[in-house]
Symmetry: C2
Subunit: 363 residues, 2 copies
């Protein structure tokens, strides 16, 4: 079958940065090869820069972004621990599910989808939770929630942030804000194929972790013996076989991103998002996410009355090799999600998706 | 830094089949793209062939082999369930740890390392376990244990087999033998980069699964909605973002393997292993694994008295770009592990490692 070169403007995966794609063609290295371990350490260092943290325990987990969520909860909360979760979309919902499976007593603070998290309500939900969790950039709704007010009011609680769709697209400054744990996915604004979950945990959270978590695969104490914590010390303990090729690709993608410069990368995403938001509105379409909280890297737009959402996406895919996403949950058929992530945060991609939508919708 | 093209003759990862490596250079696809879903279904079908099973729930899990182990236990055993584990190496040990974290009552049956599993002792260990677990090919010792006698005597219990180092290297016939659950890793004899855990579960095991396992990421009920089970039905539920590039690479590696033919692939591994075993013994070295149970794809050999194991491995890596593995646990410094997996199960690799060892050891 002929290969298809898709333009991936859905909620992720995005097309990777060329450097990340090329890196996958490099000869494979063993997971204990000193050359690979040097690349792994440098990858952790690059992740610290994009996360805005000095956390020594910063590493790429060997699974996709959702495993980052699971690692966060499974290592910090156990039966009876109180967890407050801000729910304003699918990934907040998922946090409730994951925390519940750890045996936590979950206090959920529901918000209308499309709206940002109301920090005051979240902070008032319980007097002394062990952990407060929120999604920085809700992939299901295209909404940014500010983490600073949550961090400012967290008191003795730990603060966990889902940065799957924010990292590498909009500013993330964990240490400055006061976030204790965060995770992301390689396949969104970091511009790498899916398969890794960048992860970081502060010393403060580390000291309160579960000593023997229910998950062996995501046991940070054991993982720390191989990566992250041990960086530079030379002492390594085998845990599992790291996906070496994927790590080398992440290393290259992060290198490209940092060569361009974090500020420039954020500005590029902001500008691409602005152009798309304007273009969609000029076409008479209505944006879904609350004004002032719209993500530049992931735009949600209402499907016009009488238009078959799936049929439009099918035509975009088949005629233009262009992927955009449908909505989620109650909005599955009434919202489209358009991503401009990593290398796709660029004027040509905005022009393409606007032109294609205009043609398909006849506007 | 210049790239290093290593010959990976350790316990895995192995160098990938060229087809698997080339596939990583293909344009990335979205995880809901019909083209990708077709490839995913075909990958499951190919996995059925190499596993020797008709299990409809056969799929690549989005993490490395150890996550396959975790998925097996977390979906089948809970607090108080009795699990009998045959321990004859590191991965049997790991099974004990993973099962314990699920709350299981673990009955371990210890064997001397280097020896195969004694089925009679394992079957006598408990009158009515929920699950019996054993490692088909122990990566830590290079030993093959036959699964047939365990399956024949399992009674009402489920039988779980670790096929990480066996699949694609020696015959695996799960249905014929009567194995209920099995997992593998992409980076060994399947000849693909690390990052995926091929997994299969029988209907019999499925009916007795934990409805809501402790792990969200590895919840087979939810995963089945996206892959495996749904194959061909057209109905798909998003669970997590599959590592699409890795799946495409696994698909290609399996394609290569099946084009060559399972029997021919097994014969190639058997012949390469035989040549290596003979060559090492001709050099005066002593094999570690019990005679009659030696894996052709992973050979363990004793480090000669007075030889610094790590220094030899370092010289092989630096002078010959050749990776072999050290031992594990009590045998860390006294055993080497030499893999001949996937494309590396070939006479040129045998000749290389024998020649290099001869030179470095001065034999």
């Amino acid at each position: 079958m002929p290969l298809r070169a898709r333009t991936l403007l859905g909620p992720g995966p995005s097309n990777p940065y060329p450097e990340a794609a090329v890196a996958l063609a490099q000869p494979l290295l063993g997971h204990l090869d000193p050359v690979f371990l040097g690349i792994l350490d440098e990858t952790s260092e690059r992740l610290r820069t994009v996360f805005g943290t000095a956390n020594r325990r910063t590493l790429p987990l060997s699974a996709t972004g959702s495993a980052g969520m699971e690692a966060s909860f499974v290592n910090t909360v156990g039966p009876g621990d109180v967890v407050v979760v801000a729910v304003n979309g699918l990934f907040g919902e998922r946090m409730v599910d994951v925390a519940s499976r750890c045996g936590a007593e979950v206090v959920r603070v529901d918000h209308e989808w499309g709206q940002p998290v109301d920090a005051a309500r979240v902070l008032e939900a319980h007097p002394s939770p062990k952990l407060i969790a929120a999604v920085h950039a809700e992939t299901s709704t295209g909404v940014r929630s500010d983490l600073e007010p949550l961090a400012a009011g967290k008191g003795d609680a730990l603060l966990l942030a889902d940065c799957v769709t924010s990292l590498g697209g909009i500013p993330v400054r964990l240490d400055e804000w006061g976030v204790d744990l965060a995770y992301s996915g390689s396949q969104k604004c970091l511009g790498v194929a899916p398969g890794l979950a960048p992860f970081t945990i502060s010393d403060r959270a580390w000291e309160r972790r579960i000593e023997k978590p229910r998950s062996w695969y995501l046991d940070l104490g054991m993982l720390g013996g191989y990566a992250g914590e041990a960086a530079g010390s030379g002492g390594r303990t085998y845990h599992h076989t790291a996906p070496t090729g994927m790590v080398v690709s992440l290393h290259a993608g992060l290198g490209r991103l940092l060569d361009e410069g974090l500020e420039a990368v954020h500005a590029r995403h902001a500008e691409a998002g602005r152009l798309l938001h304007e273009g969609l509105q000029e076409m008479g379409l209505e944006l879904f996410a609350a004004d002032g909280h719209r993500l530049p890297e992931l735009t949600t737009v209402r499907v016009p009355e009488g238009v078959d959402s799936a049929a439009v996406r099918k035509e975009l895919l088949e005629r233009y090799d262009l992927e955009i996403g449908g909505g989620v949950g109650a909005y599955a058929a009434t919202v489209w999600r358009i991503g401009l992530m990593g290398p796709n945060a660029a004027p040509d991609k905005v022009a393409l998706v606007l032109a294609a939508l205009r043609e398909v919708l006849g506007r």
